[in-house]
Every structure is written in C-alpha cells, then in structure tokens.
Amino acid sequence: MESLRRIRALIRKELLAVLKDPKSRFIMIGPLVFQTLIFGYAATYDLDRVRYAVHDQDRSNASRQFLAKLDGSGTFARIANLHDQKEIRALIDNKEVLLVVQIGQDFERRLIGGQIADVQVISDGRNSNTAGTALAYIGTIVESFNAEWTRSRGGLPPPAKAVPRSWYNPNLETRWFMVPGLIGMLTLVQMIILTAMSVAREREQGTFDQLLVSPFRPMEIMVGKSVPSILIGLVQSTIVLCIALFWFRIPFQGSFVTLYCGMLLFLIAAVGIGLMVSSAVATMQQALLGGFLIIMPFALLSGLSTPISNMPQAMQYLTLINPLRFAIAIVHRIFLEGAPLRVIAPDLWPLALIALASLSIAVMLFRKRLG
C-alpha cells in the first residue's frame, strides 16, 4: 500500500516533468506526426512517374500501338524520342530518364509474322530496386499488349493465363507496409531515448540521490520510471495508428485489443532496454548517443527497410533479440492480415521473453550500480 502510494507519486511527477512544458509536449508529438506523414508519403517503392525515352526504329503502327500502351498506363512519362542509339548513353548517365525503350526495325514484321518481337529496355541500375520495379511494370504492360494483340489478330487465347492476386494488400501499396511499421519504429526510438534520458537527467541534476535517500526501493524507482514511459508510448503509438487509419485510410483488419496487447509487451521491452542504457551511462549526452547506438541496428534489422528473409541465416538468428522485429510483424499481421491471437502467438512470446530479459538485466545493472 505504502509502496503503491510512493510509486504513484513518482509516476505523477514523471508525467508532469515531461508533459508540463509546452515545448517538451510538442517534442513528444510534433516530430512524430511530421515523420509519420513525411515517411508515409516518401517511403514508397511504388513508382508513379517513370521518365523514359523511346528509340523507335520501326515507326510502324504496331510500335505506335505498343508505345501508346506504355504512355497510357499512367506510370510512364515519355520525355524524349531518340533518333540515334548514341543518344541513349547521355540520357541515362545524366539521370534524365530511368529507362530507354528501344524498338527494332522489324518489330511489326515479326509480330505480324507470328514471331517473337524483341523490345530492348535499358534501365539505370544505380538504384537497382527502382529499376527492377519499373521493369516489372513494363512486364505487366507487355503481357496485356500480347493478349490484346492475339485477340485482335483473331488468334486463339493462350491455353492458360496467370491471374495475379495479392492478399492483404490488393494494390501492393508500399505505404500499407510502411505506415503501420512506423507505429513500432517511431515508438521504439522515443521510448529508449525518453527512458534513458529521464534517468540520466536525474543523475546529472542530482535529484537521483534525493530519490535514493527517500524510502523508495530500487524496484519502485524502476516501476515509477517505466510506467510513465509506457503510457507515453501508448499515446504515441495511438497517434501513429490514427494517422494510418484516418489520414492514409489503411484498412484495419484485426482486433484493437490484440494489437494493444502486443504493443504493451513491445513497450515494456523497449523501456527495459532504455533502463539498461540508463544504468550504463553517467550523462545525458552519453544516454543519447548510447541509445542511438542501440536503436540503429534495431531499426535497420527490423524487416521494415529490407526483408528479414533476404538476410543471411546467421543475421536472421541475430534479429531474434530485436523486439522491433516482432513488434513490426505483430502490427502488420493484426493490422493488414487480421490475424487472431493464436496466429501471432509465435511473435508474441519471443517479445514477452525479450521484455522479461531486458527488465531483469536492467534491474540487475541498476542494483549493481547502487551497491
């Protein structure tokens, strides 16, 4: 009872310290909203304006028909018609176009003759991912051109046709992947820094001693430091969630209760890590840089920027200690796939384990530092 009352006083103080000052209130929320919006728009692998040039040596009806298909797709913007192969180099080198489509002299003749007509596509591979995506778009357009061509020539339909479909994200929008992922990513950054800094600030300003000479037990201080961070984390993740739901209008398929259960576990793990950092540092600067040193690999190896399954096996094992990896998986699965608790269990229990481990280590370090 006594103990609870003390913890409550500490939590209240902690929240006041963060939320009282309008400037620090803004720091808690402003950058979060700004980042979610900017990254929601910027972090997309989808292309909607691919600049390209055409070198059409055939200048036939068929080639025009083919190019019209590209131009009409809405994705490709033709910015030049070339008359000489030599022009290609400069255009691509200077980044004026991402691709050059080159149609050979016998394009129409071969098509009418029922043969295969090759179209050369030269792309700028400096960002091979962007180039690859653009090529995939071209592949789709070529396919539909072929089908139309066959039909218009009265040919038989192909014996089989592939019907592509995508579950959970029918239009394959990167944003649907990125924005929910930010719920985990941005909260992690804030949680670790906030928690580590709040202890480091007390150390630097000498108030920590004041806590230690009062009847607080080490455990009570830890709880009193964790709960406010977790509360703030919950508010912050809710803000990102709301932006995903109401601004980007990404459909939410699962249950909010499950989502918040997962988030809570994640926040506990993140706060535990923040406390670990704080028990190892003496100043706010060290807390900040130390926190940053930890956040970087967590963020990069979370599966959000590049998929975990693309990593070498050894690295994949390493990601098993990364709470963000599981948090992002959980958010995606609940948000987009509507996965029930049963299905996300394999992601939940490792998170619980990490939370337990990080908190215990934090308690241990904390006690050791006091003793």
Binding site: I27, P31, Y41, A42, T44, L47, R49, V50, A90, D93, N94, K95, L98, I112, I116, A117, D118, I122, S123, D124, G125, R126, N127, S128, N129, G132, L135, A136, I138, T140, V142, E143, W149, G155, P157, P158, P159, A160, A162, P164, S166, W167, N169, F177, M284, Q285, L288, F292, M296, P297, L300, S305, T306, P307, N310, M311, M315, L318, E337, V343
Partner: protein, 386 residues
Amino acid sequence: MNTDSGPEEATLPRGMSPHRIRSLIRKEMLQIVRDPSSIAIALVLPVFLILIFGYALSLDVKQAPLAIVLERPTPDAADLAAGFMRSGYLTGIVVTSMKEATELMIERKVDGILHLREDFGRGLSSGGAPVQVIVHGVDANRARIIQSYAAGAFSLWMARRSSNGNAQGSAGQVRVQSRMWFNEAVDSRYFLVPGLVVLIMTLTGALLTALVMAREWERGTLEALFVTPVRTGEILIGKTVPYFLLGMAGLLLTAAAGRFLFDVPLRGSFLVLLGGSALYLLVALAIGLFISSATRSQFIASQIALVATFLPALFLSGFLFDLASVPQAVRVVSYFLPARYYVSFLQTVFLAGDVWGVILPNCAAMVVMMAVFFKLTLRKTKKRLA
C-alpha cells in the same frame, strides 16, 4: 605584441590567426579522443553499419517459398509446378488443397500460392485455364518482385509448351529484353553502400557537431573563450576541421569496405569522390553547427539533428525510395535537404563514373547550402550571451 599580423594571414579573412585556429583544433581533437561517446559515434557506429549494410540488408529476393496447390496432379500441372521451381528464385511446397495453402500463408511459411485448380488439365485443352498466382501482399515491394518472378516463370513455361508444338502461336508476341546498366547483376549492395556513405557522413557531420557546440554553451566554456582575442570564425573553423577529418576517415573506411569486402565498383575517379564528399561534409557540419548555435542545448540540438538530418537522409534522399514518385509537397521538402544531392552524386560516381551532367548541378546545390548555413551560423554565434 600584436599577433593579428604576419605574412601567413594573407589568405585568412579579417585578421584571423592561424596560431589560434591550430590551437582550437588541437583542443577539439583532444576532447574527441577523450570522450568515449563521440568516439563511439564516429568510429564504432560506422563499423556496425558497414557490417549490417554489407551482410544483412538486401532487397534481392532469393528462394521465396511458394505453396503450390495441385488439386489434381496431372502431368501438365506437375510440369508447370516444376517450371516454377526451376527459376531458382522460387521454391515450392506442394499441397493438395487451397485450405492447406491458406494455412501456410497465414503462418507466413510461404510468400505466395500458385493455385492449379482441379479443372486445370481440362482448361488447357479448351484454352484459358486459369492459374491463380497469389502473393502475400503485406511487404508490397517484396510481393511485387515475387509476382514478377512468377510471371516470368509462367511465360517461360508457356513459351516452352508452344515451341514443343503443343498449341497456338498464330499471333506474334512482344518479348522484353532488359539490360540494367551500372548494375548488371542486380545486386542491391550496389546502391546500399553509397547510401551508407551518406548516413555515416551525416552522423559525424551533423549529429556530432550539433552536440559539441551546444555542449560548450551548456558548460559555459564559451563565456571564457569569448573574452579572448579569438574570433567567432576561428571558433567555427576550430570546430569544423576535426569533425571534417573524422568524416573523411569514415568515407575512406566505407569506400574501402565497399570496394574490397562487398565488391561494389568505384567507376568514377577517386578524386571526384573525395571532392564531392568533402563538400557534403561541409554542408552537414554547417547544419550541425547552426542547429547547436541556435538551440544551445544538447538535448534539443540532438532531437532536431535527428529529425532534420539523419532521418531524411534515410528516407527522403532517394537512397532507398524513388523521389520522382513522392507527392509534390514532399518532393519540394526534399529539395532543401543536402542528402538528396549527395545521394545522386554518390550513386553516379560509384556506379556510373564521372558524369559531369549529374555531378556539377548536385555539387552546385551543395555549395549554395554550405554558404547559406555557414553564414547563418556566423550570424547566430556572436561573441555575445543572450
């Protein structure tokens, strides 16, 4: 005893003294060496990042598992399934019902489903047998790559069938022959390594300097320094040079790792790489100094440095995501970020060569930004308190 004169000072503006500058630089270097946290950011983090970028991050999908539903295992169906597996990019788990496949998908054991219905064989002879290719769309980029692998495997199978004389072929077909310049093998490291250089330069340039100047304000060391003959410009130069060297060391480290560990080519000339990088580093330093002079608080400075320099370098620079496809408003924001110009510069110098048509405009933009921020910093750092 007037030190503000002498032949050496001819090149320095308004009576700056090389002795004082040298002394300030020495002081800053000693401080860097003695503070473990700045060493960690300047040296440990880059090594961390090189390892992560080189060995862990990759956008190249290899061996994506696919569930292949063969509701009736006819020879044709088995042949198509085998064709999918032959591609090398996909691996298959054969199941007999859609229910099983769905279960695998929900558990994320597979990234997609190739669904051959019971009537696949019949459909083939009557034409238009539907083959469903379903992908797990959550990671849209990966899904799209898998989709194009599947489409490729499918057309290959179709082409082989027709050349076997099994069916159709009266109408001609367009086939795409693609060549990816600068990165023929389509290795994502080729653009991740230049991106890494940007991140490391931003870290040492902006984040670290944002902290050091603010620290001097917080600790009150500037107050004593101000009441000496020292000039504001000298203090700024003294802050810039050590971190400039540190940043350039980071560049060399990363470039060497890229070249020798990860086989990323450097097709442009080394001197151009050094020159452009020096320019970017100066911009980053100028921004870092500006942030810390404007805030005078380590905590706020670091927050702003992260939001204003580091995260945009990752997301808004064109390093990962194509800037041509972002909404107009966001694109406008990106024009104010130096990282955008540097990414473009680096990708070109590393992979394409000395293409002056790209290098010059980007460098020009960086020169302008550098001038603006140094000017702003000078104005903010008067030898005055409050």
